[in-house]
């Protein structure tokens, strides 16, 4: 099964989740996702998702100058972002539970 198709639906949730404990700039988020096991996540998809969540008012951003290379834009979860994370998390758990049950029947 192509996990990239699955990923599309849950990338929002994944990005919100990795920003829950600590703010991060784009590459941070990408690294955390990959480190978490989502190897196939595309660089551009992460940046696009960050833009969309930011435009939706779920993230706030601030710029930190960097000694080497360009300055970095850090994203952090704001209150609506946390609420969305909690809500999407519940939806995901219930969905996963349903699917587990289905798979249990099949198996």
């Amino acid at each position: 099964m192509d996990t990239s198709q699955l990923l599309k639906g849950v990338l929002d949730l994944a990005v919100l989740a990795v920003l829950r404990k600590e703010d991060g700039y784009g590459y941070d988020v990408l690294r955390r996702l990959r480190a978490g096991g989502l190897d196939e996540v595309g660089d551009a998809s992460v940046y696009g998702t960050l833009r969309r969540l930011y435009n939706a008012g779920l993230l706030t951003s601030y710029v930190v100058p960097s000694e080497e290379g360009p300055h970095r834009k850090y994203y952090s979860l704001n209150e609506p972002g946390r609420e969305r994370l909690a809500e999407s998390g519940r939806t995901w758990r219930s969905f996963a539970h349903t699917l587990d049950d289905l798979l249990g029947v099949v198996a």
Binding site: Y27, A44, S45, Y47, T49, R51, G69, P70, K73
Partner: protein, 381 residues
């Protein structure tokens, strides 16, 4: 590989990426290039010794692929739609049409209320409105685009809120009067033409406009393009109505004020006769009086004619005027001279004042005695 080379290739990658995003709003592009562009630079640096344009592409995909993936994830519209390329132009035309309508309505109201100072500006606005109308009738889909403009949506929702608010009933009532208003405004436009021009070319032109205004009201209900005629026409008529109301109410007051002010300089308020004395209290006769602008200070005089048995008007500025007397047989006689005397105070700088009999020392004694104050005493009879 040299770092300058690296930078050139990274720059090339970034430029291609920017091109692929060019249809997005400027703010979005700059945010993305800050963010994802920084990422590209960072990835290029990570590659270090292994860096090449190919390596970068292998790692991130081509700039176009990167941009497309980013657009999808960010929820932007795909770039390869024809609409995106020509997108800004219809929006511009729609925006032009919208603001031409707003400006046209405002200018028409100003013209109606009698603001003729702004006539050249109003003419310019009128040209824009006509242009907008031409655009709208040539491209019917433009109306829909005007309806989707954020400013139109904001205006519409404000109107809808007003209709649901406390003014809702008033608005409903006014709406029920609309057909009557369409008639009335056609009349008002024709009246404005009549005021401006009598029965001339402009009047005939306004008659045509009045007919168009009459037509545009019901048409605009079903075809929004007619709004570009109907709204300015209504605003102009409303302005004319206010102008007419305004010129009827305060005019009675203005008229009297105007009358007195134009009447005043022609006939200065003068007593019917003037007597003049020099510093010694000597009466002066045959003196001609003028005001500060050199106009003779005429006062009406009803003197005797040459034959001595009639009378005639003889207005002039020669003072003092003789006293007119009729003898027992009805013969007219003009009596010259000064009927009283005054005493001029010897102290200079004080205005001369008539004195009473209590201070005869410096007074010139007339043939008859001086009574108190400037009283008139018959000099000779």
């Amino acid at each position: 590989m040299s770092s300058t080379h690296t930078r050139a290739e990274v720059q090339d990658y970034l430029n291609r990426m920017r091109t692929a995003l060019a249809d997005l709003p400027d703010v979005e592009i700059s945010e993305i290039m800050d963010d994802a562009g920084g990422h590209v630079v960072e990835v290029a640096e990570e590659l270090g010794e292994d860096f090449s344009a190919e390596a970068l592409t292998a790692r991130l995909g081509t700039p176009e692929v990167y941009a497309r993936e980013l657009r999808v994830a960010a929820g932007y519209p795909p770039a390869n739609q024809a609409v995106a390329a020509v997108g800004p132009k219809p929006v511009f035309a729609a925006r032009f049409a919208f603001w031409a309508l707003v400006a046209g309505t405002a200018a028409a109201f100003g013209m109606g209320i009698g603001g003729r100072n702004g006539f050249p500006l109003a003419l310019l606005v009128a040209v824009f409105v006509v242009w907008a109308i031409v655009l709208l009738f040539r491209k019917p889909e433009l109306v829909g685009q005007v309806g989707e403009l954020p400013e139109t949506i904001a205006l519409r929702s404000a109107l809808e809120q007003a209709e649901q608010g406390p003014l809702g009933k008033t608005i409903d009532y006014l709406k029920s009067l609309q057909p009557a208003w369409w008639l009335a405004r056609a009349g008002l436009i024709a009246i404005a033409g009549l005021i401006l021009d009598g029965v001339g070319v402009i009047f005939l032109l306004t008659l045509g406009m009045a007919a168009l205004a009459l037509l545009s009201g019901p048409r605009a209900k079903v075809d929004r393009r007619w709004l570009w005629v109907s709204l300015p026409a209504g605003a102009f008529a409303a302005g004319v109505l206010l102008f007419i109301i305004g010129s009827v109410i305060p005019n009675s007051r203005y008229d009297s004020g105007y009358a007195t002010s134009s009447y005043a300089p022609a006939t200065p308020s003068l007593p019917s006769n003037v007597y003049v004395f020099d510093k010694d209290g000597k009466a002066l006769t045959d003196v001609y009086l003028y005001d500060e602008e050199g106009r003779p200070l005429d006062s009406s005089f009803y003197g005797c004619d040459g034959n001595g048995d009639g009378s005639r008007y003889r207005d002039d500025n020669r003072y003092p005027k003789p006293k007119v007397d009729y003898d027992g047989r009805g013969h007219c006689r003009e009596i010259g001279g000064v009927p009283f005397a005054v005493s001029i105070p010897s102290v200079t700088g004080l205005p001369p004042a008539p004195t009473g009999s209590g201070d005869p020392s410096s007074s010139v004694t007339p043939p008859s005695s001086v009574s108190s104050a400037p009283s008139t005493v018959p000099a000779s009879k």
